[in-house]
């Protein structure tokens, strides 16, 4: 398939996707859980892809994603809470220090930048560590960040440990899809660029990569900063979705959860991450909720079903994937519509040829 054709098909699909979403929003009941899945799934897709950029493409085992999300979310919230609401929200801190707002898009990007800046500082310190030590150190940094944001001495900026709210959110599912789409596209482009190849080389064999003239430290730092940038934007989007931000929710468990989703999707596949995110959110928030409800069929109470069962089922699924299905849904392959198109056309051609042959 030619490049031109590929671009045409891809852009047509993107238009179709957004058009479809738009129509869905106009015609369907927006209170449906479907829209929760679409919104939250899109945001998780970005977050999981960001973690996969490190884990899957650069070979850096980081458990500090939650810390960067926290930075993004807080930056977004702090700079977008309407000035008139501040007196109320920063009630213990005389309305806080920041007394202006910036546009939503700027706050999102700023959130990404702040996360990237901190990633630069942290990466400078910890990126020389190897695999599991790196994981623990990044986890530690995320916990330290969380403690700093809860510190009441910084309350005039962060509102201490108290909740931040009343900042703008989004109502249409098109917004997160747009932002996440852009970010994912950027990530895909990066991975397929010269830098992406350098990342993968480093993941496969550090010593050989170094012999190819790739500066390990610089390149790792770069990947770490970029991943954190996207995590920051993801954090900002998550804040917009949740409409409240609180430091205590950005725990190590959140990083673990994201990492496990990346494993489900396949370490080293961005589309796998996206697919797994939507599936995870859909199952977790919607399809499998029934597992948590005590259910009766007639007088018969279905055994096991009660609060918490959903999570047990989930963790068992995750363990099964980790143990027996180590490559996840997608392995390291990427799912591409053009690829499928090619396969289908090839298949049709084959059929035709076969038919033609039989006809003769």
């Amino acid at each position: 398939m030619t490049n031109k054709k590929r671009i045409i098909i891809s852009s047509a699909l993107i238009v179709l996707l957004f058009g479809g979403l738009w129509v869905m929003e106009l015609t369907m009941n927006t209170a449906s859980m479907l829209f929760v899945v679409l919104k939250k799934g899109a945001i998780y897709a970005l977050l999981v892809a960001a973690i996969n950029l490190l884990q899957g493409f650069t070979g850096l085992f980081s458990l500090g994603e939650a810390g960067f999300m926290l930075l993004g979310a807080y930056t977004f919230a702090i700079f977008t809470i309407p000035v008139e609401m501040r007196e109320n929200i920063y009630q213990y801190y005389d309305g806080g220090l920041v007394q202006f707002t910036i546009p939503v898009w700027a706050a999102l990007i700023l959130g990404g930048l702040v996360a990237a800046f901190f990633a630069f500082l942290i990466g400078f310190v910890v990126l020389k560590l190897k695999s599991d030590y790196l994981a623990i150190a990044t986890l530690g940094f995320a916990e330290i960040l969380r403690a700093i944001f809860q510190w009441d001495k910084l309350g005039v900026i962060t509102n201490g440990s108290n909740i931040l709210r009343s900042f703008p959110g989004f109502s249409s599912v098109l917004f997160p899809f747009g932002v996440v789409g852009l970010c994912l596209a950027a990530m895909m482009l990066l991975i397929n660029s010269s830098y992406g190849r350098a990342y993968k080389a480093m993941r496969d064999d550090e010593i050989a990569a170094e012999a190819m003239g790739i500066n390990l430290f610089k390149t790792k730092l770069q990947a770490f900063v970029i991943s954190s940038f996207f995590a920051g934007i993801g954090g900002g989007l998550l804040a917009m979705y949740q409409l409240t931000v609180k430091a205590s929710t950005f725990t190590a468990a959140l990083s673990d959860e994201l990492l496990l989703i990346a494993v489900i999707g396949g370490i080293g596949s961005i589309t796998g991450s996206v697919l797994a995110s939507f599936l995870y959110i859909a199952a977790n928030e919607w399809w499998l909720r029934f597992l948590d409800q005590e259910t009766f069929i007639g007088a018969f109470k279905i055994p096991l079903l009660r609060s918490g069962f959903r999570k047990v089922v989930f963790s068992v699924i995750i363990m099964l994937i980790v143990l027996f299905y180590r490559r996840g849904l997608m392995g390291t392959r990427e799912f591409s519509i053009t690829g499928i198109y090619e396969k289908i056309t090839a298949f049709i051609k084959k059929k035709k040829a076969a038919k033609g042959g039989a006809g003769k």
Binding site: K40, Y92, D152, G160, S161, R165, G308
Partner: protein, 394 residues
């Protein structure tokens, strides 16, 4: 195999896209009432007890007449895991289930986190034991049937100053918990205004289990009262460790402590515990009647008894939950519709006299309850004992 699995999953996703167009249950003779409560996490115990009150109310009054027809009232109970990050999705699942009105939640932070979702969907919420003023402030869909922390803080400060004769108070709150941070804050304001002294105001992180250093701090700073309006689970640990360390000063707390978990923990200790609460069962006939009925219902349902912590002690949040259910029914009756919007409009004018006092909402959606019970624990038997009824008027 792998491809097949992926394909199946994708199909499932696509199918559910298609299937969720409608969701119209308009013809059914059912009114759905959402219960947004924590069943797990730090506030799990309290959330469950609150839910029990609602379930009992639903057991007492399972139907309602709207426009001359009898409707079944069904509860949609969800667990928000005491996690503000989970609240929006959980709230949305209630919206998606078609709830006309939502009850809950137990903690103020959870209400604040869920509020915007319900506001956006136009579904009224009746807060049950969320005492922080921020819950209803600026949200025209959030109501509440309990007193506020500003009031509770004042009452507690008065009690500490006048009754306990405390002058130096040590305060402990949970980091990031709007309820305990807020209540400590209001308490400190009032207590300072009375001329008392706050020796320290500390916070502990969520999930903390070691309180010995806070207890030691209070002792070192020579406080004469330990004020800790914290959640039930940490409170149980605090009581246990205070006892082990031989804490000499009284422990003072807010409404969350009205739970059998606290009573259990305090049983057999040498502590002097007092807290403020919404309800005391021996006040009048209504309360006595409720207590009897509720206890019987608990005993008839072993599951419920387990959820209540294994015994039949009535926590204040249970009658409060019970009342919230009836307030919701009143509003539906007044609106004569199961439409959320109409119910919301009707709620502003609802008046109802329940087991925890009378309910009438002001312009913020708050009630003007003017009485608080101060209750202590009889450490020998592990039972609650009534101390006094404080009112704002004082």
């Amino acid at each position: 195999m792998k491809k097949l699995l992926s394909l199946v999953l994708i199909c499932a996703l696509a199918l559910s896209f298609a299937s969720c167009g409608g969701g119209g249950k308009a013809d059914e003779k059912i009114v759905y009432i959402g219960v947004n409560e924590p069943a797990t996490g730090e506030s799990g115990a309290g959330g469950k007890q609150e839910t029990l009150g609602i379930e009992y109310a639903n057991f007492v009054q399972p139907t309602i007449d709207i426009a001359g027809e009898t409707y079944q009232v069904k509860l949609v109970i969800v667990d928000n895991e005491t996690d503000t990050a989970k609240c929006p999705s959980v709230a949305q699942s209630l919206v998606s289930a078609g709830c006309s009105v939502v009850l809950g939640a137990y903690g103020s932070a959870l209400c604040i986190a869920s509020g915007p979702t319900f506001e956006a969907a136009g579904i009224p919420c009746i807060g049950i034991s969320c005492t922080n003023p921020q819950v209803t402030l600026g949200n025209s869909y959030y109501f509440r049937i309990c007193f506020l922390d500003t009031f509770q803080g004042k009452v507690l400060a008065d009690y500490a100053y006048e009754t306990l004769k405390a002058r130096n108070i040590y305060c402990l709150a949970e980091l990031g918990d709007d309820y305990s941070v807020g209540l400590v804050n209001y308490f400190m304001e009032e207590f300072k205004a009375l001329g008392g002294n706050i020796v320290a105001n500390e916070t502990y992180p969520v999930g903390n289990s070691d309180y010995t250093s806070y207890i030691a701090n209070a002792a070192k700073l020579k406080a004469d009262c330990f004020f800790a309006p914290i959640n039930i689970e940490p409170a149980a640990l605090l009581i246990e460790q205070s006892n082990a360390q031989g804490l000499a000063m009284p422990l003072l707390a807010g409404d969350t402590w009205d739970s059998n978990v606290i009573a259990e923990a305090a049983k057999g200790t040498n502590l002097n515990i007092a807290f403020s609460t919404f309800f005391y069962s021996e006040v009048n006939d209504t309360t006595k009647q409720f207590t009897e009925g509720f206890k019987k219902w608990l005993k008839d349902n072993p599951d419920k008894l387990t959820a209540n912590g294994g015994n039949d002690t009535v926590a204040a949040v249970s009658p409060l939950g019970y009342d919230s259910y009836f307030v919701a029914l009143e509003a539906i009756k007044a609106a004569d519709s199961k439409d959320s919007k109409a119910i919301n409009d009707a709620l502003w004018n609802v008046t109802y006299s329940g087991v925890t006092g009378s309910v009438a909402f002001d312009k913020n959606g708050d009630v003007d309850k003017d009485a608080i019970f101060m209750v202590g624990v009889d450490t020998a038997t592990g039972a609650f004992k009534f101390i006094t009824e404080q009112s704002a008027a004082k």
